[in-house]
Amino acid sequence: MTAYLIATLTLVAITAITGLALNLQWGMGGLVNFGLFGFYMLGAYICGLLTVQGVPPLASLVGAMCSVALLSALVSLITVRLSEDYLAIVTLGFAECLRLFISYEEWLTRGTLGIAGIERPFQGLVPAQLADTALLAFTLIAVALVYGALQALAFSPFGRLVRATREDPAVVEALGKSVLTVRFKVFAVGGAILGLAGSLHAFYYTYIDPTQFSPIITAYAFMAVVIGGRGSNRGVLISTFTLILVLEGSRFLVDWVPHLGSSELAAIRLILVGAGLVLLLIIKPDGFGKEPRSAEAEIRSFTST
């Protein structure tokens, strides 16, 4: 059981990092990145490919973070001209195309067969029984670092600028700041965090293939941010925990309701997940947390129109 809890907590931590990245890009910056899972996948693949080439895991992780940050920043260039909904579909399409590319370009990515035997950080230094615990510790440190960095960013002048850009890009331009530069940075930092989350995914599973990455990752991240309360990093941490608890906890349904077929139970489980999500949105309108520097009234007037 302990081993299962450790594994599940690692999953919570990775999802939390993804949620934090989205909270920066969409929660604070207002950029609807539906292609989140593509950047996450890219992080996993770059990290995985580098590792199996013999690059040390930590170096692969840094490499993945840098490359995803760069690519992500490039994608931000299209945001200038696109409104919210269009940005959503363009990033989603981009991610889907990326997945097609990874599925078919076998010479580079091993295609649908995936990459097996990815080495974890400190693999040789930790006894095998403690490997999962070590990875959990490593992941939790990563969560703490990302959380700390994003909190610092949220309270910094740049954080205010990001929020201002979300509220009214025209005003920011009028103040002589470049909206594009702000978005470029937001996408780059968010991309680096997604690269980190993807790399941790690769370390956790030690095997990656294209079917592991689907829009459901994006959906979970959005659920985490919306339930957590848009803009609140602490809220995201609480809501990811709740989310994974619901998703994983529902696997135990099988043990409590033994007289239904597994196909039916599997379906019931997912029905409950979907309905639970809607219910949570209805009964918990403001999520679990609040945005720093309470720009609440402003935010509310923004979201209600």
Partner: protein
């Protein structure tokens, strides 16, 4: 303030989860308790159509074994979990099976990608992994005698298609392949064998799972009018493609896997007799002539002659696990896993009835188990060898065995 409410609720839920899990793990420690085997199957997602067949077969086998007195005096208990046909969910479900339910083996496992993702955990935790996944990579690498494939590997199956075509006098063929590890693994061997036998491959297209339509692919492949088209896909894609081919007015013969083109009779039921007419499929046999297979069909209330390939294979998995544990007198997978080859490779009389086989082990008699899905033997790496492939043709809605290929 807003934080207190939810976090308390989270805490309560978490402790509930932990408590229930401990309840389970404690109970599984007592010796008279049942031996647990995990069924990891695709109940939702791409593999959804096969999940039920897999679970039913496993349950049928467990009933047969338990009716024969169980294993080492204990009952077999199956715990099913949904892998959603996705590796990430598969890993989460497998971890729950291993760490919470304390299963000694994970069986079923349909998707090759799920197997590849679950394998490192199973090997690390010393849990047996029996699968119907077909990708060659599954049995490669250090598996500690834990990973056993109850399915032909892609290489042999691909070659079998080439042989079937040669027998049918096919000169030109094209390939439509679903982009998954298993389906792809049959393509190169097929090409090689088919060209060596003097055939010509005209064209090949790959397509993605869950495409809204296959019209483009059908148009491209069938418009060149090859004698045959090898459609390497599952029942959903094959159904759409077969219908599309028929109503587009093309006549090339479709060759497909039996688990797609028969799939328990569902394929014909889905596309109709007219569309299904003349489609050729292959699968390792005897299926139809085996004692174990008849036992399986009887147990799940299916008529004689039903071709349920995954079902037969999973039935064999559970029976073999039971026999191996009984023979090793251990529920530790590292011990009983090694017994697999000996149970089927022995040069001794064949037994197809699981109850008889169990009895034979208890009495120390020498025998070999002759499986439901095929009369297989095991290679040391975990692959089945020595398989015979059935060569079926659908005529008037029914699959007819027209020959055998070795």
């Amino acid at each position: 303030m807003p934080v207190i409410g939810p976090s308390r609720r989270v805490f309560v839920a978490a402790s509930f989860l932990v408590a229930s899990a401990f309840g389970l793990s404690n109970s599984s420690q007592a010796n008279e308790e049942p031996i647990r085997i995990g069924i990891l199957a695709p109940f939702t997602g791409t593999g959804g159509p096969y999940g039920k067949e897999i679970e039913e077969a496993a349950r049928a086998a467990a009933v047969v074994i338990n009716d024969a007195g169980g294993v080492l005096g204990r009952k077999l208990e199956l715990v099913a979990a949904d892998d959603e046909s996705v590796p990430t969910s598969g890993v989460a479900a497998a971890r729950k099976l291993i760490d919470v339910d304390k299963v000694v083996a994970i069986s079923g496992v349909w998707s090759s990608a799920v197997v590849l993702a679950v394998k490192p955990i199973a090997v690390e935790k010393g849990v047996a992994l029996t699968t119907v996944g077909s990708a060659d990579e599954i049995t490669q690498g250090e598996n500690k005698g834990l990973v056993w494939r109850f399915q032909t590997n892609g290489k042999d199956w691909g070659a079998a298609f080439a042989k079937a075509m040669a027998k049918d006098g096919i000169k030109t063929a094209s390939i439509m392949v679903l982009q998954t590890p298993f389906t792809l693994s049959t393509i190169e061997p097929f090409r090689k064998a088919f060209t060596e036998a003097g055939g010509t491959v005209l064209d090949q297209v790959a397509f993605n799972p869950n495409q809204p339509s296959y019209r483009v692919e059908v148009e491209r492949i069938f418009s060149k009018e090859p004698d045959a088209v090898f459609v390497a896909a599952y029942v959903n894609e094959l159904s759409a493609i077969a219908k599309e081919t028929f109503r587009s007015g093309y006549d090339s013969t479709i060759y497909a896997y039996s688990n797609a083109a028969d799939s328990n009779g569902k394929f014909v039921q889905n596309v109709g007799k007219e569309v299904a007419e003349g489609i050729v499929h292959t699968q390792h046999v005897p299926i139809a002539k085996s004692t174990a297979y008849s036992r399986y069909l009887k147990q799940v209330n299916k008529p004689e002659g039903t071709v349920a390939t995954y079902g037969g294979q999973v039935f064999d998995q559970i029976v073999m696990l039971a026999l191996a544990m009984e023979k090793a007198k251990s529920t530790n997978a590292l011990d009983f896993g090694r017994e697999f080859p000996g149970l089927v490779n022995a040069d001794a009389p064949s037994i197809g009835e699981p109850a008889e086989a169990l009895k034979a082990i208890r009495e120390g008699k020498s025998f070999r188990y002759s499986g439901a899905a095929s009369d297989f033997r095991f290679a040391p790496n975990g692959d089945q060898t020595n398989l015979t492939y059935g060569h079926f043709r659908i005529e008037n809605g029914v699959s007819k065995l027209v020959g055998e290929i070795r």
